[in-house]
Symmetry: C2
Subunit: 136 residues, 2 copies
């Protein structure tokens, strides 16, 4: 932060993005990338570009409609790019943009931690559920 920037008349807090603020673009984007299906689509695309049908098989349980909505929302944020190769039969690929790849790599880190913690997760759930009567 230079002296010039501090002297600017506009209050600097106007320029600060905050994921906790409902009105901030970053909050809306955070809700997109943590979406139930969009988050798994990002993880799948870390492994490389996929066609629609490939994504449907990769992300277990996603419906055609939900996958389509997830891809549209990720495209809208500029995190996934759709490429129509203009061939017959049609070939359309979905791939991460550079920003999408940065986000997806970090989400993949979250998934890796959870995959490595399955015994701990299972133990914690069993303990919590056995103590269920305590709280209510």
């Amino acid at each position: 932060m230079t002296a010039d920037a501090q002297d600017a008349s506009a209050p600097s807090q106007e320029l600060v993005a905050d994921v906790f603020a409902r009105a901030c673009s970053s909050r809306a984007a955070f809700e997109v990338v943590t979406g139930k299906w969009a988050s798994l689509v990002l993880l799948a695309l870390v492994e490389g570009p996929h066609r629609f049908g490939e994504l449907r098989r990769h992300v277990e349980g996603v419906s055609e409609k939900m996958l389509s909505q997830a891809l549209h929302s990720l495209e809208r944020e500029g995190l996934v790019a759709r490429t129509d190769h203009g061939t017959v039969p049609p070939r359309v690929d979905y791939a991460l943009t550079p920003l999408g790849a940065d986000i997806a790599t970090r989400l993949r880190g979250v998934a890796d931690l959870l995959q490595g913690a399955v015994p701990d997760l299972d133990r914690s759930r069993a303990e919590y559920d056995s103590e269920g009567a305590r709280v209510e």
Copy 2:
């Protein structure tokens, strides 16, 4: 992978956690940590333990009911610990467990990237919306 591991009679894939598999504990945990409110609660707790009321103010827009549900689901996975100090008036804190802190730090990285990309996000959305007629 050692020769011994390859020779083991149990198929190794039985032991591999996979966030894409509906039946895997890691998938359920991934859905919890990417939940609409749970994800923001994790981000808030990166900054330190919070009381319930503090979390409600920190995470703009969360209702009492949604915050309570998010905290219960995070406790159940062993990612957040609830401490009742047993005092009068009651004081109850919520804090990240070590695994919760690892997860939350990575999610904070996602949020930081998005906060830094607000101009790009806004530009991408405007372009996407202006091309809306193209697709439908």
